[in-house]
């Protein structure tokens, strides 16, 4: 079923693209980068992940006062999982903790893209396009990276259907869109609207339209009874089961000998302005399950795999008035996979005192996310730093590829 979908999708995408001839070379990173047949996965978390909850700096003396009721603790009920004595991990991520201990996962903290405002749309544009400013949406950095990778043997025009990139989900994340042909895959279900959309609509209807509010509330209640599960629990990118499902599907395709090598996914629902504890517990368990799904489905290929998880920006250091956090700056990125030199929290920790916070409110960003992406591209895939600076992350000459991310 899966393979069949892949074949036909691929044919459809390439047949329609006319881009086949522009991609007349097989990439050859098997020679370019340490003889590895590598896999690289980028997962975009839309909505802005709160890095201070995902990877709480329990050793920072100001953390608990800022976070108050949503602070995590090393002891007591539902304790955070230890990482390195200063940082801990959200208790919903046991798989990631295991990988971390096994040296197959790292955390990058206090990181951000080049974007310094607080609009989701613009922030995601910058994160995915690889440009320094928003508004560039014709292609994403992963796709341009594919084009710039070392070329192997020339492929006769039309002789191969090889698509090296894989876009997972009902629409291709911007990060992987562009000139290089990309295979598309999404589970064959009607993506259901998630809890978050329903909540926002309930809020809007509550203010503007009692009739629609009543109908929607009842519709949701009925839907829960009918399916026995929460709204949105059937496979969307904003619920844990959906995340695992998308990850497993992507991994199966990446594991095909002739399949794609680079994949992009997007998970949703991270905009936790209210009731953050419960929502992030759920979402992070989905992300954690996605790591496990990749590990399991990639099998022996896991050792040559790197997964980068990134979000458009972070959230306020202080808890807000509704047990949540608002749009901020610095946050957490995750690295996982057998190819990762793991067991480390990579951070130039800026501190959480008022003067250390950006604008007195956000975790400051001390690590440029582009350095992380570049480091993986160079050491795992054999990408050229010059091309990365020129085409993939334009204007990033001064952002050197991070070293030693890859084992």
């Amino acid at each position: 079923m899966l393979c069949e979908t892949m074949t036909t999708s691929r044919r459809a995408v390439l047949g329609a693209s006319g881009a086949l001839f522009a991609w007349a070379f097989m990439p050859r990173w098997a020679q370019a980068a340490r003889g590895r047949d590598a896999r690289f996965v980028t997962i975009i978390l839309r909505g802005a992940l709160d890095g201070l909850t995902a990877v709480p700096p329990l050793g920072d003396p100001d953390y608990e006062a800022l976070r108050q009721g949503i602070a995590l603790h090393a002891q007591g009920p539902n304790p955070a999982l230890p990482l390195d004595g200063f940082f801990a991990l959200h208790p919903s991520m046991p798989n990631f903790a295991r990988l971390f201990r096994a040296g197959q996962a790292s955390v990058v903290h206090a990181s951000a893209t080049a974007y310094r405002d607080r609009s989701h749309f613009d922030g995601q544009d910058v994160l995915e396009s690889g440009y320094e400013t928003p508004g560039r949406v014709d292609s994403g950095w992963l796709n341009r990276m594919l084009i710039g990778l070392p070329k192997g043997e020339k492929i006769a025009p039309g002789a191969s259907e090889q698509a090296v990139g894989l876009a997972v989900g009902a629409n291709a994340p911007l990060v992987i869109r562009g000139r290089a042909p990309v295979l598309g895959w999404a589970p064959a279900v009607l993506p259901q609207a998630g809890d978050d959309l329903a909540m926002r609509l309930m809020d809007l209807y509550g203010q503007r339209d009692p009739l629609l509010a009543h109908a929607l509330a009842e519709g949701i209640a009925t839907g829960k009874i009918a399916t026995g599960i929460e709204l949105g629990a059937r496979g969307g990118p904003g619920d844990p089961e959906g995340m695992k499902h998308l990850a497993a599907g992507a991994a199966k395709l990446l594991a095909q000998p002739e399949g794609p090598r680079i994949a992009a996914l997007a998970f949703e629902g991270w905009d936790t302005h209210a009731q953050e504890i419960g929502r992030l517990a759920r979402l992070l368990s989905g992300l954690d399950g996605a790591f496990a799904a990749f590990e399991q489905e990639l099998g022996s290929l896991w050792k040559d795999t790197a997964i980068l998880v990134a979000t458009e920006f972070g959230r306020t250091a202080r808890v807000n008035g509704t047990e949540g956090t608002d749009h901020g700056t610095g946050t957490t990125a995750f690295l996982a996979g057998g190819a990762i030199r793991g067991g480390r929290v990579i951070a130039d920790w800026p501190g959480l005192k008022d003067v250390q916070l950006r604008d007195g409110r956000d975790l400051a960003a001390t690590t440029d996310l582009r350095a992380i992406a570049k480091g993986i591209a160079v050491d795992l895939l054999g990408a050229s730093p010059a091309i990365l600076a020129r085409d993939v992350f334009p204007g990033s000459e001064k952002v050197a590829p991070a070293k030693d991310l890859i084992a």
């Binding site: 069949e4 979908t5 892949m6 036909t8 999708s9 044919r11 459809a12 995408v13 881009a19 839309r46 909505g47 989701h120 749309f121 995601q124 949406v137 014709d138 292609s139 990139g165 876009a167 989900g169 009902a170 629409n171 291709a172 992987i176 869109r177 562009g178 000139r179 042909p181 598309g184 895959w185 999404a186 064959a188 279900v189 009607l190 993506p191 259901q192 609207a193 998630g194 978050d196 959309l197 329903a198 926002r200 609509l201 809007l204 209807y205 503007r208 009739l211 629609l212 109908a215 929607l216 509330a217 009842e218 519709g219 949701i220 209640a221 009925t222 839907g223 949703e268 991270w270 905009d271």
Partner: protein, 511 residues
Amino acid sequence: MAHSSKRMDAGLALSRFGLGARQGDLDAISSDPRGALLEEITNRAVPFPSGEELKPTADLLADFYAFRDEQKEARERKPADGTGAPQAGPPQAPMASDQPGKPEAMAAQPTMEGARAGASAASSPVAPPPANGAPAPKPIPPLPQRVFLAEAKARFSGTTHVPRIGFGERLAMFWANHFAVSAAKGPALRIIAGAFEREAIRPHVFGRFTDMLMAVETHPAMLLYLDNQQSFGPNSVAGQNRKRGLNENLAREILELHTLGVNGGYTQEDVTSLARIITGWTVTGREGRLGSPGTFVFFGNAHEPGAQRLLGKTYVDAGLEQGRAALTELARHPATATHVATKLARHFVADDPPQILVERLANTFRTTDGDLAPVSKALIEADESWAPELTKIRSPLEFIIAVLRATGAKPEPQQVLGALYAMGEPLWQPAGPNGFSDTIDAWASPEGIRMRMDIANTAATRGADYFDPPEFIDTRLGPLLSHETRAAVSRAESRAQGLAIAFMSPEFQRR
């Protein structure tokens, strides 16, 4: 102030009387929104669906007869062998395996083809195929379904996107629902449901009601849908020979639904009389004994002889003319004017429309002998039609069309049909001859709104790459927007969510 009320009128013109705003439509009409609407009436602007498969009814039925022969032959060739069954299955239910709206049809969803400004052509080819992947090569659907899909496509990828406002198209939808037939009746109806709308409805949207009525009641689709080809005058030659009698189905619906209305003052006697009057109104069969196959014909041998009394008036037996005269009188009846006026006002303005508006429309209808252009004009010119409160809820059909126009999407017709089916308004398939409901309660149901949310979410996921949500609502909803909706859209956590909220906002759902 005058400026802002013109902006408001532009918003209302597009949503209440039109098909919903495309990029640029609000600006284009904002200098004179009511004038732009009146211009559509003056120009009799009703876009015409076109396509290779969209043939005249007679040709479609001829094709259908041939298709049935082929099926029959194929069945007879291999009677015991299951593989010998024709693709389409038995004629009684040839669409059983290919009805739109099955879960498979829902899986794939609209692909946004309206490219976002600035997106290069080179980037679009790498958008992934529909959610379930490109479908495996499917057998070609049987002829009736193929034509049905072509008719749907000619509208959702065609006429939907053509008009600036689309009042004419909205009226075509209104009248097709007023004179409802159902494609679910069988394969013959399925193949000609679209042709019925093209031939009997559209040409008369800004013409005379009498002409539309006549075109409808003599159209093969209506005659087959309401069984008039089975109705024989008990004392007619054919009735006597075949021991057959009246079928009142069409006559009753003409009185109850098409003209006078249920409280229009007719009796059972009138129903029976009208049934007798229109005996012999039938469709020629495949053999073409009565005329060219698949066309309307007056079959005198089945016509009940003698004069008939209908609503106190006597109609002498003049064959087909007896029925034409009766329908002409019905179209002129004051109750018909009130019935049509009420339905129009209810459709466009409010479930419980202002009585003064209904009276004005009915009056115009009566004084112009049912000329629908001045009636439509009266609707637009009435201040009661322009209340700024958005009270009506878009029907699923109106909702989908508004989404298609707002995004410029032209998805495969199966996807649109699937969404309409899921939301409870399958195209040209109402549960009965009274058509789909036209009240808020019918569409603001819990399941309906929930389903809309899933569909809005899917469409938004597809469209997220092409639109900036705050800009999108400004250009599509502009003057109708509430502060709360603006805030909810701009606070969304992603473009896709922002678009989904835009589609589900009260300003988009209501009109």
